[in-house]
Symmetry: C2
Subunit: 410 residues, 2 copies
């Protein structure tokens, strides 16, 4: 992408109405734009990162056996009355349709997915089933001050699993933990699994995936001896319930969670199956959530410095920032050629070909945008058929021949 | 995909609450599920087709110079008051937030995109700009009886263009017509461009892309001599205004539309630019819509027979339906191998490996689902190292050697 064609621009000033690091940097770097509290537009650079995160999530969900669907955001009151949750979900947006109809904007989708899967599952032979979607969810959050970490409209991957017995459920639940850890690792996030309250649906714990950072809203107690992590909500005393060791507390961002739902929703919708003996049995369910937009915000919270964002390669909008300091048309032609050659080879390049900007502005913008590798091409480097290469996460600058560039970018 | 693992099933019965062909067939074939009038879930097969349509749209929009963004569905009342449209859009869903705040669910996005692009465009050097998104829109349609043709929540691609003068606008507008025709052609739809009312924004015509079919909601007058098409809304007499020839009228589905917006929105938001002489000038705008979900419904309306859907290759969820009639484990192994070989070669195969279904059920399902090619493998064909191959759109059945299959599938 030629930066001269990109319609967004970076901003020097920190937006006054944002207190979170992720929103400040993502807005300044031209990744997102704020429409109102907790509601953002994804600009071209931001959408590319968001889509890369979704792709990683999708791959792991498919690997886990999940089948992708897409449920509506607009849901009728009737389905929420079946489970008694119409008045129970504080953050649900409600709206009126024609003829006295009432709708809720999907804040979660158990009430849609359970009767849906019920239509197709009759026998034990039809189980297990795992379906997921990646879709925008809506929650009327009272405090939406954390940028992409707590949105009123946000991207969510929600998977729901359906099982014939506890053993099958547990097996899938454990596998989902590994899939989640894979996702966060691929996104460059170091997440741990923390036990948390199971809510009203189960006596078991639910499990949260937490990334430690000073800007986190959650408090996690971690055992220094055995490595157990627990959300402070369920910590009764500051000793490890597993080994008796001492626990330390740290702030963290919850980037995902998984819940055993038992038969809470299948019972409500009368969703049972026939076992081998033709006997009706309750279907066991689990739900598994990750917010790709929250993951994006978390990546920025833990990967930045005073100059800007430091994107992990896997989720960077482009992997190379080709910065041209060329002014003469012969040099510009060489820079253009390098851009086109790299792009044809499949390297994702953002090409700073802007004529008006100074070298200082271009370097500052490059640090702010935070692509993994910066390649500078200038009259000076071209005199030696070279470019300057630098990783965003390092201070080391190298001069290498243009023909050697390939081996450094793949 | 192994059909035995697909959680959806086909249905013999036509859903009683659907009058449109597209909804009836898509529901019976397991592509979509109805949550309420005008609101559907996309099941695994349906989502694959929808994504293929979106991909075609995206390619053409990028080719046209469009930059993809993603705007929110939740929009604040204030931006609609700027243009005076808060109370003007009948189909807008409105909802209440905290502290007396009011929101509208995006039914169109001029009020979001205009102030957004204004933030980045100051000079004639920053123009033209074209941005688009593919996103779910919400409209409280009073009559949502046409399946995917008229949804209350539906997929929409909306592009907005910004120009420094009439010439630049016209140039882009004409190019967009070709991009749209390319999209419909790639989707297997034979669309024509019809002149239509420009609405309150312009004295010019807007342009609709219309697909002729008996089930269309629009009436189009077409000149048999010069090929001019006009929406009946603006036809004053039944003679061609271009050549005086006779016009015939036919029903059609509007699958896309493009509008000159003139300065209607840039004026409202005070969006001007500085020209070469440093003088403020108004920005000219255009908007360009295609509904991928409506396109999907339209494809089914014009491509089906009494047995089911007939998908064009480009938008079929899979290109081959491999139907196995094998019962013995040695034969099943060969069928499995063929499935795996084809899949590894990049052929998109839906593999009917179901044990319980009869040959008759499998053939009926295959016709209903409507993938472009059906390949049958059975003890009879295996005895001659062959398979039976048939195109969904033809009655011709051929027996070919398995080793020759490749040349027929690529």
């Amino acid at each position: 992408m030629r930066q001269s064609k990109l319609f967004t621009k970076t901003a020097k000033e920190t937006p006054k109405d944002e207190v979170s690091i992720n929103a400040q940097l993502l807005i300044r770097a031209g990744f997102i734009d704020k429409l109102m509290a907790g509601v953002y537009t994804y600009l071209p650079l931001g959408l590319r990162s968001l889509e890369k995160i979704k792709k990683i999530v999708r791959e792991e969900m498919n690997q886990l056996g999940g089948q992708e669907i897409l449920m509506p955001a607009l849901t009728p009151k009737e389905i929420w009355e079946v489970t008694g949750r119409w008045d129970k979900i504080d953050v649900a947006f409600k709206l009126d349709g024609d003829g006295g109809k009432q709708y809720s904007l999907g804040s979660t989708h158990e009430e849609v997915v359970t009767p849906l899967v019920k239509k197709f599952v009759k026998s034990y032979k039809d189980l297990p089933v795992a379906v997921y979607q990646i879709q925008d969810k809506f929650r009327n959050e009272p405090r939406a001050k954390s940028g992409l970490l707590r949105g009123r409209e946000f991207s969510m991957k929600d998977l729901y699993s359906f099982h014939k017995d506890e053993e099958d459920f547990s097996d899938f639940y454990e596998k989902s933990k590994q899939a989640y850890l894979n996702i966060f690792e691929k996104c460059g996030l170091n997440a741990v699994i923390a036990e948390a309250d199971g809510g009203v649906f189960t006596d078991k714990y639910s499990h949260e995936f937490q990334v430690f950072t000073e800007n986190g809203e959650d408090i996690i107690f971690s055992c220094e001896t055995c490595g157990l992590h627990r959300n402070s909500e369920i910590v009764k005393e500051e000793k490890c319930p597993q080994c008796g060791g001492g626990m330390v507390k740290n702030k963290a961002i919850e980037v995902g969670n998984i819940f055993p739902l038992e038969t809470r929703f299948s019972d409500a919708f009368g969703f049972s199956y026939l076992d081998k003996d033709g006997k009706e049995q309750p279907v066991l369910m689990g739900c598994y959530g990750i917010g790709p937009s929250r993951v994006m915000g978390s990546i920025v919270e833990v990967n930045h410095d005073e100059k800007g964002i430091i994107w992990p390669e896997s989720v960077a909008p482009y992997s190379v920032h080709l910065v041209s300091l060329c002014k003469e048309s012969a040099d510009i032609k060489k820079a253009d050629e390098l851009y086109e050659t790299l792009t044809k080879q499949g390297v994702e390049v953002l090409y700073d070909d802007r004529e008006g900007a100074t070298a200082g502005q271009k370097f500052a913008d490059s640090d702010l945008v935070g692509l993994p590798k910066r390649v500078v091409i200038s009259p000076k480097t071209l005199a030696e058929d070279s470019v300057e290469i630098k990783e965003r996460s390092s201070d080391k600058v190298e001069i290498i021949k243009i023909k050697e560039l390939n081996s450094r970018l793949f």
